[in-house]
Symmetry: none
Subunit: 202 residues, 4 copies
DNA sequence: TATGAATGAGATTTCATTCAT
DNA sequence: CATGAATGAAATCTCATTCAT
């Protein structure tokens, strides 16, 4: 790994733990093992390190959305299979992905003082995940797999416990394997129950 | 309002908007209209201003818990009445209370870099609200008002959408009347639906 | 004891331990139990507290000189008696006197940065004690009690070990009874030996 | 001379004149001709500048001790020659050495408020010099050059006038050539007399 | 690529002092 | 007599950044 990448890795790590403002160039450089001035060869300034994360995150997140939406139209496989596969991607490649998780932590911290970040946080942790679920439920209704009803309401019912568990296990404490496991257990149990109830209604 | 109170008011306001570290004593003093050194007549240091908020918040929050638990044992009034009154207190006197809301915003920002704050955040926004709901559902089961089932599961189903809406409308953007209204509408609609489903299950 | 005296007592105590500049009005007031502003009713400023000590010390020290010189001309009593009585006064009423000792400690600390204090220190710990001894030895020579010789040389021989022991036991560590005892033992032993040698020369 | 060395030089100079606390980083920088923040490129903080002096001094002083002790066992040369050479090293390379003298001045000022410095002062101006002299006299006794007697007593007799003169001429006023000369004259005269008396006793 | 050196701006805090009450 | 309140000045230190090498 070259210096530029080391800087990025260390920065993200520290930003995710202490927040953007609380981490100084000094802190980063001490960890990387270079002098402060060297950072400015690789990056215009501190902000641009941060921007890089946001850009990469936005790309990944957009990619995931597209991947999930494509998966939907496939329509292949069973009802619960495709649902679980969506959840799996969303959990493993997004909420619990090392990079994404860290960026979301930074967004969580910085959102209040920074309008741009606030918009991103709202978009990527509140609105977009909900929209996906809404689309999923609408697709299921269109295919007649589930009875017609308020898809927005369904999506909230489905997503909000996941959001709650994510805040409890994935964004509050360190992202250890134990916390991941705790999250998975809670989230999958919720999904199971959710389907049972949906099935029961049918 | 005397200087001490002005400092507190301005500080909380700025902390809630930008976070503890991002706000300097200078910033606060400029707003209050005093010199920096004057702050140290009223407070030992910057941290102690912050501590005052945390202490007052903890007191208020504990008071609310007690109030809610006492309300439960009363058992007076109809099922949905007492439920709505709990929600009302929790929403208006806690989530949307000017002081509490601001302190919770600061906790939200500072939680990642600060272990003590993290604990408080988890306690007062995740765990304690859930515990109350669990107790409420257990009481309802004991009285035979709702059928016996997993109270923890019920509580998550009930509380997580509220938590989701709170993050969306109460802790992300400014706490305007519009946002309060949006939150109330979404939350009360959720509660209504929640009861309908519970009733339908009976 | 009234407030003014309490301020003086506490100030001297702290000055002697930490030096004039290192002690703040705050420190003093905390100890006395008054507010900072109250000091300025009793004293013009911080410096004037210090001046008071210097003035009082100079008075006491001058008084001691006069007392010692008067004692000399008395010529009453035996040779070693009068010598021991001089030493006794110099030790107990000066070097080890609570007030004088503390003032000399402050002078010791402040001498380098302050010309006036340096002069006082030199005068009262180096020059004046030596002058007294010179006078004493000259008197003894005049009375034929000791043989004529360089009184200055004798005085140095006599006083410098006392000065050394004083720096070791009385001005370096706290002025405890143990340190006083250690000083007395060393100093009186020195005086005894000094006379033995003088006698042996006769 | 580079900036780091300039800072050290100016700092020691000012510390020796006014004491550690009385000298501010501002004062130092004004003299050196740099901005305050620049100091922190070269030193961790103000204390670490001071520490550097103490460490270097301790090294030099220890070196001198070893040098003197080695000189003793040589036993070469005449009695008074070796004695004068010890005195010469102790005077010129220690008490009157520009660097050492300044550090000892700082220790003198700071000793009362600072336990560590007090220990150093006692060690390097009171105890260690005495120990050396004790060893020297013991060696002389062992070789039968001087008659057996209380070496501690001899050492005090020998060293305390030197200590007295040092305080008078080397640590109180500025270390000018005049003061050095005054010290040398007084000290060497004392040494001469000391030997004469020792010889007379034989 | 990397660093040594420097810096302006600003952060928190301390201190002696003033003044109206 | 004493204090509440305030302040100008200064102290130590941090930070992001620049620039020549």
């Amino acid at each position: 790994m070259n210096t530029r990448e080391k800087i990025l890795e260390v920065s993200l790590d520290m930003f995710a733990k202490q927040g953007y403002t609380a981490v100084s160039i000094r802190d980063i450089c001490k960890q990387v093992g270079i002098k402060e001035s060297s950072v400015y060869y690789h990056f215009k300034n501190k902000q641009s390190i941060f921007d890089e994360f946001i850009n990469k995150f936005t790309e990944i997140a957009n990619g995931m959305i597209i991947q999930l939406e494509n998966g939907l139209t496939d329509g292949e496989g069973s009802f619960s299979d495709s649902f679980n596969s969506v959840a799996n991607v969303f959990f493993e490649k997004y909420l619990m992905d090392d990079f994404c998780n860290k960026v979301m932590r930074v967004m969580l911290i910085e959102q209040l003082g920074n309008d741009d970040i606030r918009k991103l946080y709202r978009e990527w942790l509140l609105d977009k995940p909900l929209q996906i679920q809404i689309k999923i439920f609408q697709t299921l209704m269109n295919f007649g797999i589930i009875p017609n009803c308020d898809s927005q309401y369904l999506a909230i019912k489905y997503y909000s416990p996941i959001y709650f568990y994510a805040n409890k296990w994935l964004f509050s404490e360190e992202l250890t394997e134990e916390n991941k496991t705790a999250f998975r257990e809670a989230a999958y149990k919720h999904i199971q129950m959710f389907f049972m109830e949906m099935g029961g209604n049918r």
